[in-house]
């Protein structure tokens, strides 16, 4: 056993230990990374899939509401926060419903507008998008008075009244926050308008708190108001 042999064995042992340590670090790093990403994704998805307070619209079209209701066809009312990014998906779904159900429904989109804010604060791209949808009329809901009266709490909440003025559907028309695509709400509305069902149904609403903290104060789900 010469000095060079001892030296070689020590170096080989060190290399082996370094390799093992590197692998340990690599695996640990991977697990840390995976955990972090999983947690982040979980938070994001949980946020996206956490609905607002359940809709609580009037069962019958309230007569004191100044909105025009057509007697021949159903009337759809959507409450929207003009600057809520999540509502863009709801406007999109509304557009698809209106395009598909032409002549069977008229729609009003009420954009929340704080009274002490500057004029036309509510006229955002969402306003324009909604206004461009055939059969849709957009309105300024000053300080959310109409929303309060119609029991809307979350941006994107929809209430569908049939031609007789009875509530046929209430809730959201997106699968999650700001998530476009097929969803239960849109499907229900199309089925109601197609006359395939008349069941009064409701879905979860995914969107920004429509009226802010004051409105949230009436809600049990404080978490939604915090966002």
């Amino acid at each position: 056993m010469t000095f060079s042999h001892i030296k070689d064995e020590v170096e080989q042992s060190l290399r082996s230990k370094v390799t093992i340590a590197g692998r340990v670090v690599l695996v640990a790093g991977f697990l840390l990374w995976a955990g972090t990403v999983t947690a982040g994704m979980w938070v994001v998805l949980n946020y996206a899939n956490t609905p607002g307070p359940p809709a609580d619209a009037a069962r019958v079209w309230p007569s004191e509401v100044s909105l025009e209701r057509t007697q021949e066809v159903a009337t759809l009312v959507m409450f929207a926060h003009p600057r809520c990014p999540c509502t863009r998906a709801s406007i999109g779904e509304l557009s698809r419903i209106m395009t598909r159900e032409v002549g069977r429904v008229t729609a009003h989109v009420l954009f929340y507008a704080p009274g002490d804010f500057e004029a036309d604060w509510e006229r955002t791209d969402l306003w324009d998008s909604a206004a461009e949808i055939p059969g849709v009329r957009v309105h300024r809901d000053a300080d959310g008075n109409l929303a309060r009266r119609l029991g809307a709490k979350t941006s994107g909440q929809v209430a569908l009244y049939d031609a007789s003025g009875r509530l046929a559907f209430q809730g959201g028309i997106t699968a999650s926050r700001g998530h476009a695509g097929d969803n239960v709400g849109s499907t229900k509305i199309r089925q109601i308008l197609d006359g395939k069902t008349s069941t009064n149904s409701a879905t979860s609403v995914y969107g920004c708190p429509l009226l802010g903290r004051s409105a949230c104060g009436t809600d049990d789900r404080e978490n939604a108001c915090k966002l």
Binding site: W33, V43, V44, R83, C86, A175, L210, K226, L227
Partner: protein, 758 residues
């Protein structure tokens, strides 16, 4: 054949391995590139999500109150969280499987987030399918698995917890998410096939690339091999050229401009490489040789043949002409170049000159020279040999030297000679040869062994000089020496003879006078006796008689005449002894005979007595056993005389005329083993050390002109050493005297004794 197959298999296996490597590298590169692309895409998507959130839902409202929308926070935080890990992995671990799996999942999560942020727009759902298409850029169908799993899981969980958000109904089937997942799987099927095709295509490309690389490698290896061989060849050539003992050059054909020279060319010409480059080769040639070189060069160029000429260089080596052998051959081609060699043959030329001179010397010398093999076969004889021996060159080439044997020397003589030269030593000696015509010749020979470079004896060279005439001259010279010696001794001898002759004459005259007186007295006696016969002598007669006796002084005569006779006889004896000594000294015999050495020495001492008796006392100490020594008496006498005269002269140089005392000469003989030894010692001044080596040289003398010729010791040495096979040694001490020791071999005494008996 098996080897070739194995080689092909080896190459095939190598290409497959390379293709696999290339495929792996390409996949990794593609994955890493796609990872980086997704990192950028993730960042863009994150920013886009934030922008979308800010644009689409910047704030959320609650009545008249608003705050930043949760989508903005979601876009920033969740979007950032989703993008962070895949971006980090894409930057830190690009190309890793785990990275793209995380990216796949994150991309699907991003799709879900964007869909959510855009409010579930159906258009945004295309992000899912676009992302899957993007993920297919990995060309790894496995990536689609986690992506599909995330989508399915998303739908499954949302179907379980928020079914309306996915399926639009609150209570959808729990398996409905599978329907959604199947659409994704439908695209997955297309993309999986695309991924598989893409991967297959990558594999094909990799295989082609590997094949191409293999081909290139083969070509490059061949090129490297040939380049290596070329470099090795060039290196070899340069080494050879650099170390070549012969100059190597390259020139243009027509103008002879040098375009390459090696180091040897530089050293031979004495010019620098810089000077030689581009210069005319002809400039290096001696002006006297240039015309011939140009002529031959032109012929070689015209006929495309080799140029070869020996010529002189223009430069000299310390004044000596330098010779070169110039060779060049045309190399063909449009350039018309000549490549040649330049060899320094100065040494060879000098050797040739020296050899020619040596040959001339050998051919023209008076000494006979012949060269034999080690077995004695004659391989060369010079003209002098032919002249001296009478044999022509054709007669003796291939023959043995024994054809020259005279028979005078016995076999032992020749055996000793062969032993000497075969042992590597020179043999020097004299012997008698027989010429082709049968006449005998005396030769003095030196035979030397000739060695080759490995010190092996290859030949013997004999140089012989015809000594016949020299021997005759030496005899004449010896005789002349004797005559000279006798001439020089004549006065002394005459003096020696004159003394006894004088008193013999005086005595004879005394006897003559005495005889007359006695005759007169006898006449008176006769007349008296006649008268007395006739008459009685008278007194007067008696007185007259008495007076006549008195007048005749008879008593005196009676007393002196015997003495005169005795003295005369003694004188005659002395003369006789001198004459006999001279006779013995000048013995004419040239043949060896048994000589009473003591008597011969004694005679010589007698002959030379007038030379020494005035300056020295001479003492003899003879060994009685030396009565029969084989020698030539004349030579020994001559030698002893020269020694005694030299001793007397040496003593005279010390004692002058002898008035203040005489020196001493001692002559002794001894029989020592097989040698007769003669010692002649004097009390002269001695011989200086530096002169002792020269005293036996001919004509060397330290005596005054007229007193010595310088031939005495030279002839003595020749007689004793060469003629008798004896030795002469000299021992001298400055101021105390010199002793010459002569040794004569006694070996022949028995032979001569037997010959004499016969």
């Amino acid at each position: 054949m098996q080897t070739l197959t194995d080689s092909v298999h080896r190459i095939g296996a190598g290409v497959r391995r390379r293709a696999d490597n290339l495929y792996g590298e390409s996949r990794f590169e593609l994955h890493a590139h796609t990872d980086r692309m997704f990192a950028g895409l993730m960042a863009i998507q994150w920013i886009a999500g934030i922008v979308a959130a800010v644009v689409i839902s910047p704030r959320t409202w609650s009545g008249a109150m608003s705050q930043m929308h949760i989508h903005v926070w979601t876009a920033v935080l969740v979007g950032g969280a989703i993008s962070s890990l895949p971006i980090a992995l894409a930057l830190l671990r690009p190309g890793k499987r785990s990275t793209r799996y995380v990216i796949a999942g994150a991309q699907m999560l991003t799709s879900a987030l964007l869909i959510h942020l855009t409010g579930g727009r159906i258009e945004t759902h295309f992000h899912v399918f676009g992302s899957l298409a993007f993920l297919s850029f990995y060309r790894d169908w496995r990536v689609l698995v986690p992506a599909t799993a995330v989508i399915a899981l998303d739908h499954m969980l949302r179907g379980m917890f928020w079914p309306e958000s996915v399926f639009g109904v609150l209570s959808a089937s729990q398996w409905r998410w599978i329907e959604h997942a199947c659409w994704v799987i439908f695209e997955d099927i297309v993309l999986v096939r695309s991924c598989l095709m893409g991967a297959r295509e990558m594999r094909v490309v990799a295989a082609r690339q590997a094949q191409l690389e293999a081909s290139n490698e083969t070509v490059e290896a061949k090129v490297r091999e040939q380049t290596s061989e070329l470099r090795a060849s060039e290196s070899l050539f340069r080494s050879i050229a650099a170390s070549s003992p012969v100059g190597i050059f390259r020139t243009t054909a027509d103008s002879r401009r040098l375009t390459y020279v090696n180091e040897r060319c530089v050293s031979i010409t004495g010019r620098s490489r810089h000077e030689l480059d581009g210069s005319d080769l002809l400039d290096e040639i001696h002006p006297d040789d240039r015309d011939a070189v140009m002529r031959d060069w032109g012929i070689a160029m015209d006929t495309s043949t080799e140029f070869s000429r020996e010529c002189r260089l223009a430069c000299s080596d310390g004044g000596a002409t330098r010779w070169i052998h110039l060779r060049a051959s045309p190399q063909g081609g449009d350039e018309g170049e000549f490549v040649g060699t330049l060899e320094d043959i100065t040494s060879r030329k000098r050797s040739e000159g020296e050899r020619a001179r040596l040959t001339a010397v050998i051919e023209q010398v008076a000494e006979a020279i012949f060269i034999t093999d080690v077995d004695g076969t004659i391989r060369y004889v010079n003209p002098a040999f032919e002249k001296i021996t009478g044999y022509s060159r054709d007669d003796v080439l291939g023959a043995q030297p024994r054809i020259l044997k005279s028979g005078v020397q016995d076999n032992a003589f020749y055996a000793d000679m062969w032993t000497t030269i075969l042992s590597g030593n020179n043999w020097v000696g004299a012997f008698t040869n027989r010429k082709k015509d049968g006449k005998l010749i005396e030769v003095q020979a030196t035979i030397s062994p000739i060695r080759d470079s490995s010190d092996r004896i290859t030949n013997f060279a004999a140089i012989t000089r015809d000594m016949t005439e020299q021997r005759a001259l030496e005899q004449q010279l010896g005789q002349s020496q004797k005559l000279e010696a006798i001439g020089q001794l004549a006065a002394g001898i005459a003096h020696e003879i004159n003394t006894p002759t004088q008193y013999v004459g005086d005595n004879t005259r005394f006897l003559q006078d005495s005889f007359e007186d006695i005759v007169k007295l006898f006449g008176r006696f006769d007349s008296l006796f006649g008268d007395a016969a006739e008459a009685t002598p008278s007194a007067e007669d008696m007185v007259a008689m008495s007076k006549a006796i008195e007048d005749a002084d008879l008593e005196y005569l009676t007393e002196e005449i015997p003495r005169a006779v005795e003295q005369s006889l003694d004188g005659v004896n002395r003369v006789t002894r001198i004459v006999r000594a001279m006779k013995e000294f000048s013995h004419p015999s040239e043949e060896k005979t048994l000589v009473d050495l003591n008597r011969a020495i004694d005679s010589t001492i007698t002959v030379a007595s007038n030379e020494w008796k005035y300056v020295a006392e001479l003492e003899t100490d003879f060994d009685k056993k030396l009565e029969t020594v084989p020698c030539v008496p004349g030579d020994i006498n001559q030698t002893i005389l020269n020694m005694i005269v030299n001793a007397a002269h040496a003593i005279a140089d010390v004692v002058g005329d002898g008035g203040d005392g005489k020196g001493k000469i001692k002559v002794a003989t001894r029989l020592v083993d097989e040698w007769a030894e003669i010692r002649i010692a004097d009390t002269g001044g001695g011989i200086p050390e530096d002169l002792r080596r020269k005293i036996f040289d001919p004509f060397f003398t330290t005596k005054q002109v007229g007193k010595g010729t310088g031939q005495g010791l030279s002839i003595a040495h020749s007689m004793i050493v060469q003629k008798h096979g004896g030795t002469i040694d000299v021992r001298s001490e400055i101021g105390r005297g010199t002793t010459f020791i002569i040794r004569l071999p006694m070996a022949e005494s028995e032979v001569l004794t037997e010959g004499a008996a016969k």
